[in-house]
Symmetry: C2
Subunit: 269 residues, 2 copies
Amino acid sequence: MVVFAGQGDARRSMALLWRTEEPGESRPGPKPGLSVDLIVDAAIAVADAEGMAALSMRKVGERLGRTGMALYTYVPSKGELVDLMYDKALGELPTAHDLAGGWRPAVTAWAGHLWHFYQRHPWVLQVSQARPVLGPNEFALLESLVAILRETGLRPPALRGVVSLLFDFVRGAARTVAESRQAPSATGVSDEEWWHTRSRLLEEVAPGFAARFPMVAWIESEAGVPGEGEPYLEHQVNEAFTVGLTVLLDGVQAAVGRTGPPAGPVTAP
Amino acid sequence: MVVFAGQGDARRSMALLWRTEEPGESRPGPKPGLSVDLIVDAAIAVADAEGMAALSMRKVGERLGRTGMALYTYVPSKGELVDLMYDKALGELPTAHDLAGGWRPAVTAWAGHLWHFYQRHPWVLQVSQARPVLGPNEFALLESLVAILRETGLRPPALRGVVSLLFDFVRGAARTVAESRQAPSATGVSDEEWWHTRSRLLEEVAPGFAARFPMVAWIESEAGVPGEGEPYLEHQVNEAFTVGLTVLLDGVQAAVGRTGPPAGPVTAP
DNA sequence: CGCTGATATCTTCTGCCGTAAAGAGATCCG
DNA sequence: CGGATCTCTTTACGGCAGAAGATATCAGCG
């Protein structure tokens, strides 16, 4: 499920994201037993442990000793809660990177941090990217990347493409690992078991596979060997991540060389 | 929601995907009023029209003049149905590409086809990639890409990285557009309206934005102008797609140059 | 032809979900 | 103390996937 925030009162959503509600000194009625932060933390804990699909208002409420409906006092809807979870989780990421070695190692570090972040919080990958959440930490993440990439000397139109490419790549690679991690608990079948069963069935159901798909058979040859206890798929994806990032950065380097280093005009292809 | 296939009888799933069930001539009982193909087509129609989130067994059954439960006669669960939809839809893609101009234009064409395919069937992007569906058309798509990339002379380990990078990039870019297309109907707010409201609120709630996030402000400058009637976000993503693909292919070119240019098309030391 | 048993289809039911509506009870100001 | 206001619960609605079981439909046999 791709999760959209509700369209109800946009102002309130933004105020929640940027924490700009007034303290509200001494009002009538009972003291709030919960807070937005408490709720968001509980929701993140649920999503980390059981995945986005298992996240429900009732379950978050239960974790806080309340009913699901109690949350609606603090948060307009589930969609807004997800936005808050998203932006809060992003706060874990570092906001500055060492540029002493130039942009390339800095981008590599940035990508590595994001990669590991997605492993810790796979549910983040399910939040829609089409309509950005526009929270402070989402901007901080973008800010940190652009601060690095500005060193390349590329102009904004080209850089926007590079930024998208980087995000799409890291997210895509992370998604594959993340889903393979949640798949065992979601389906009750371990990775090894699943692959073993499926490859046996494939031979059974598609005889002459190697003849019908020679390129597929070829590219799956010369496979690297996973380390001790490392799941097969995860190993493949880790290797693919390293290789892919190298290729990507080589492409950026080429663009830099084409437009001239830290000073130069923009040329369209 | 990321959709996993049910773990129930894997053999039956594979048989359905590869269409290897025996015809079963003249059995007692009423003639089947439906077929797997009919159901899959109806389900694709629903998903194309209303998105994956709106796809339910009841709705598909309704479209065929049956209840939702009637489908379980033909298909083990919703997960398997989604796998069948996925592989059937992929059958639309071409399986061979012209290599006369070398690998670069061929990859560009391949990526363009996939990109447009995802625009036609955005729901495909919601099918989990961690555990491949292993249907014939999924393999055919991979086969067609590897057939092109083999021309580069790169070896399988490096090529696997390039393949992942390409898939992740095209999927990520397509996802952004696809979600922005479905967002208006899902939330009832048009893109223009949404952006206008949000950017006004952003200034209100985060004064001094440009000072706090100078790099973000900078990279959003020099924006290209959308064509007549082209949504703003969509225009940005289209530009990013072109730039990103160029950068990516430059990176491949660099890798090719590093391992030695492909004098002979097929084999390298 | 009519019966029997296999099979397809439909109905009912369970237990989830998000959230609207209404109200119980706590807490403060005047 | 009285009324206003707030938190939180209860109840209810319509939706979902799917289990269990009832019913309708047909082939082949006598």
